[in-house]
Amino acid sequence: MDYDLIVNILYATVRTGTPLILVALGELVCEKSGVLNLGQEGMMLMGAVIGFIAALETGNLWLGVTFAMAAGLMMSLLFGFIALNLSANQVATGLALTIFGTGLSAFVGSDYVGTPLVGIEPWHIPLLSDIPFVGRILFSHDPLVYLSFGLFVGVYLFLNRSHAGLALKAVGESPQSAKATGLPVFKIRYLAVMFGGAMAGLAGAYLSLAYTPLWAENMTAGRGWIALALVVFASWKAERVLLGAYLFGAFSIMHLVAQGLGFSVSPNLLAIMPYLATIVVLVMLSSDKARVKLYAPVSLGKPFHPAD
């Protein structure tokens, strides 16, 4: 492999890792509050389609991004109403959200399949992008990638350095105790779910406005589910989410690597890689029951009724 190829592979890794980072950071915050939302895929799809339509109709890509986040947020409110207000089973509700989002996004976007759109252009950061090697890999992307860097730092500081983050984690560990200390459990969980929704919408917008500027049914291709696995992989720690997302990003661009090494492998077989990697990683990390118990928020997935 030559130098250019390595740079290109790493560059593509950052690009493919970005939607995973966005959606996984949202889910991380959500799960830290004790809520398991399996609807990431549905929220992402809605974000992707609404973002695309809004950008196309208004001619403003950033308005598209805003609409995408709003769409993800609305979807998460639906989840919040059923899973939090009505204390329904979170697994079933999340699953329903994904099925609903898949159907709704296909319906809303049916007139837009194959419509071309000029996506968000890369923005080379002056000076930084001139650094050899690193400049190309990290500082020659579109602004949403930089936003993902910023959001990572924000979520990391929020969870590990802020009072509000502590409150969120307290709610996730024991909503009963958190409530006894006067924390608004219900409100905190709602906000966490909404943050997750907006992030999933943003991840969707990244796919339909920057990564591949078009709309296609099911274009998220399981990234929402991979992000869920990523949070387990990361042992519910933000810095490991970042690491994991790029690792999975690398698995998703195996075709580039194979090309570079001169192999010709079926693209369908290579497409299996990220899913296979997800299973392998999950097996390695969940085998130790004690470890999962140690890191997972204690009340994860358990309903907490506002009246309790």
Binding site: L86, S87, I99, L276, P303
Partner: protein, 378 residues
């Protein structure tokens, strides 16, 4: 708030049966509003969607053709969900069954052996079973969440199918289309009715329905699965072997989904194509819940789901509405169902004063009510 949810002392049996009907009605109402918003006559659209497809005998046979694979998948899922094994992988098990069964069927292109078809069907069912054995092994021995593994295996099975029809199993004389050769008569499911597509796969589905009913209602294993689902601790105290039950539920579910897949390719499709299933495995999740995880309920709800598939195609052809309506209706149905299911364990109180009067009695029963909540929410 004007409305207040109050826990029932006991789960309402009535609501458990009423909730799917309520959810269906709400879906229809929302659908009508949607049609109206799209500039279509709601009544005419509803007629085209839900009545026109079954207004003649052929329509009913088509309903059976679509309902059979959904029912097979949903029956297996019901066994899993009863035991709280979250198998989301019926789609992948179906696809893998179709792929392996279809691969075996392609070995009989120049044979008219009477054993060919049974062999193909068994291969498909075993393949589905094997695909479900992966999450079973990972769950029982590596403590891996079956939701995520089964989902990932869906994507893997789909890509394996795509790889096969683009590569090793592609018809050499097929003008480079990603399709296998057409299966011969010997490996095609016999039809039940002339001039229709209704094949004997429907009999398999009905047989599976009886078998799952017997398993869940009449056998000790079925009882163990249900106890495991309702209260894992109780199942442990009773000495039930959790691992064995998880394996059993997943293998059965995989075999049924695999059978559904191989019946699709040896029945209505007749060859291996990239699009074996329009999401039957995912629709089966909705069907299982809508049918209350009970075989009879699944029979009815799989017919409704088949109708949604056929109706969706018909409104696309006749009224020029997007085919994606099918997926939208499926999603709405499941959401309304979840919302209505809340009424099984809770009742709605209108006046806060009235509920305040009732409070002492419900507070005294808080422990009992807690148990009810947990059964409802799992």
């Amino acid at each position: 708030m004007i409305f207040k949810l109050e826990r029932r002392v006991d789960d309402s049996r009535w609501m458990a049966y009423l909730s799917p009907i309520l959810a269906g009605t709400l879906t229809l109402i929302t659908g009508s509003i949607l049609f109206w918003a799209l500039g279509k006559d709601p009544l005419q659209t509803l007629y085209t969607f839900f009545i026109a497809p079954v207004s003649d005998l052929y329509g009913w046979t088509e309903l059976g053709v679509k309902a059979a694979p959904i029912m097979l998948c949903a029956l297996g899922l019901a066994v899993c969900y009863r035991g709280k094994v979250w198998n989301i992988g019926a789609e992948g098990q179906l696809l893998f069954g179709a792929l392996v069964g279809g691969g075996v069927a392609l070995q009989f292109l120049e044979s008219d052996s009477a054993f060919a078809l049974p062999l193909v069907l068994v291969a498909g069912a075993l393949a589905g079973m094997a695909w479900a054995a992966i999450p079973a092994l990972l769950k029982t021995h590596f403590n891996t969440n079956e939701i995520l593994t089964t989902i990932m295996l869906n994507y893997i099975a789909l890509n394996l199918l795509l790889f096969s029809v683009h590569g090793p199993l592609k018809d050499p004389g097929g003008f480079n289309f990603p399709e296998s050769a057409l299966f011969t008569e010997a490996v095609t499911l016999p039809l039940l009715l002339e001039d229709s597509r209704m094949h004997i796969g429907i009999l398999f589905a009905l047989f599976a329905l009886v078998a799952v009913w017997v398993l869940l209602s009449k056998t000790f294993v079925g009882f163990q699965i249900k106890v495991l689902g309702l209260d894992t601790r109780a199942a442990h105290f009773a000495g039930f072997k959790e691992r064995r039950l998880v394996w059993l539920a997943l293998l059965l579910s995989g075999a049924l989904a695999g059978l559904a897949g191989v019946c699709e390719v040896t029945g209505p499709i007749g060859q291996l194509v990239p699009q074996v299933s329009p999401g039957y495995g995912y629709a089966a999740i909705i069907v299982a819940f809508l049918g209350r995880l009970h075989p009879v309920g699944i029979l009815l709800s799989s017919m409704l789901m088949a109708l949604i598939y056929i109706g969706g195609e018909l409104v696309q052809i006749e009224l020029n509405l997007p085919l994606a309506l099918t997926g939208l209706f499926q999603g709405m149905l499941l959401f309304f169902l979840l919302a209505c299911d809340v009424l099984i364990a809770y009742r709605i109180r209108l006046s806060p004063r009235f509920s305040a009067l009732r409070k002492p009695s419900s507070a005294a029963l808080v422990n009992g009510a807690d148990a009810n909540l947990s059964t409802h929410s799992q």
